[in-house]
Symmetry: C2
């Protein structure tokens, strides 16, 4: 027996999300038609469209924002001489929550992974080189994940910057190896940022 | 630091789904704006609306369908003398997948739970009594979950039917106690239906 077509279509859409398999997708689809009010479903559909159309990468750092320039880049109270390089916007929120860093960010939107066809051109690096020319940056703190891809990305950026005056550091102490930044607790992040070493 | 408003709104909507907490909602919201194409998000929003507007409970049995009368009730090949009572439409799909039952269904859309304010009037029972008057039903197979609520519901239906000629049975053998039907494998369901006992 098959699900009604419109329900099956919805299940297929849910399965496009990471970690949602067939059973979970069925559950969410049924919850949608069974438990949620028409108004709630309409609101959900509208917020999906709104978020997708309004959220764009910041022209300076790549962090996503609903403005032209994100609120971090636009904040002149922050220390523009330090730029922390992270893999994703999620990492920016994670570090901001810990409250330990008052510099700026640069979001790569990924990490080097030759096997998956992700080279330097696939990352948000071009705007980083532009920033280095136009802004007075004294320190680049590399906060990519402690994974193979994150390390490769860190090494790549270090090599590009090795003949410049810029101090390149890497967060290290505390972040568990093989894990993503988003799972680190605040204290671990505080330690990791305090104990950054020259890279 | 706060998320951009349209992203925060989306996170809140995701959290309305069962089992989706703040972290998971953030992940899905970011995946939506970061990884999915505009077309995919538009399609997702549209399928949500379509499913919600097209899927309705079958006028006869309460199982959801995009037709007036669901395809099971409309199928004259099926044995209309047996009606299996289940808590949700999901259970209908689960039992249909096992292929062991050729009768009809009645979907209660819940189970008795006085603590949560769910009494007989909150369940799809009125249409069941109508069916008993209008159709020639010989056996009612109660397939509510082996939970406290499911058992209470089974007992309630048994009591209402005790002075009629209808044979009331309860699936029993095989379905793990305290679990929901949807997690039972096909073989367990075959056993449970074969070994139903007079209730």
């Amino acid at each position: 027996m098959q699900y009604p077509k419109s329900l099956e279509d919805l299940i297929v859409e849910w399965m496009k999300y990471p970690g949602i398999g067939r059973k979970t997708a069925e559950r969410y689809a049924m919850f949608t038609v069974n438990q949620l009010s028409k108004e709630t479903v309409e609101l959900f559909a509208q917020t999906l469209l709104d978020a997708k159309s309004k959220i764009n990468p910041c022209k300076v750092c790549g962090h996503f924002t609903d403005l032209e320039i994100c609120e971090i880049c636009a904040d002149h109270q922050r220390d523009g001489s330090k730029v922390m390089i992270v893999e994703s916007s999620k990492d920016v929120f994670t570090i901001e929550k810990s409250g330990t860093f008052k510099g700026l960010y640069h979001v790569l939107n990924g990490a080097l992974s030759p096997i998956n066809g992700i080279g330097p051109n696939e990352l948000n690096l071009f705007t980083l080189w532009t920033r280095l020319e136009n802004q007075e940056i004294k320190e680049i703190i590399i906060a990519t994940s402690a994974t193979q891809e994150g390390e490769a990305t860190a090494l790549y950026i270090k090599r590009v910057l090795q003949n410049t005056d810029i101090l390149v550091t890497r967060i290290g102490y505390g972040v568990p190896v093989g894990s993503n930044l988003e799972y680190a607790d605040d204290l671990t992040l505080v330690k990791a940022i305090e104990n950054r070493r020259v890279f």
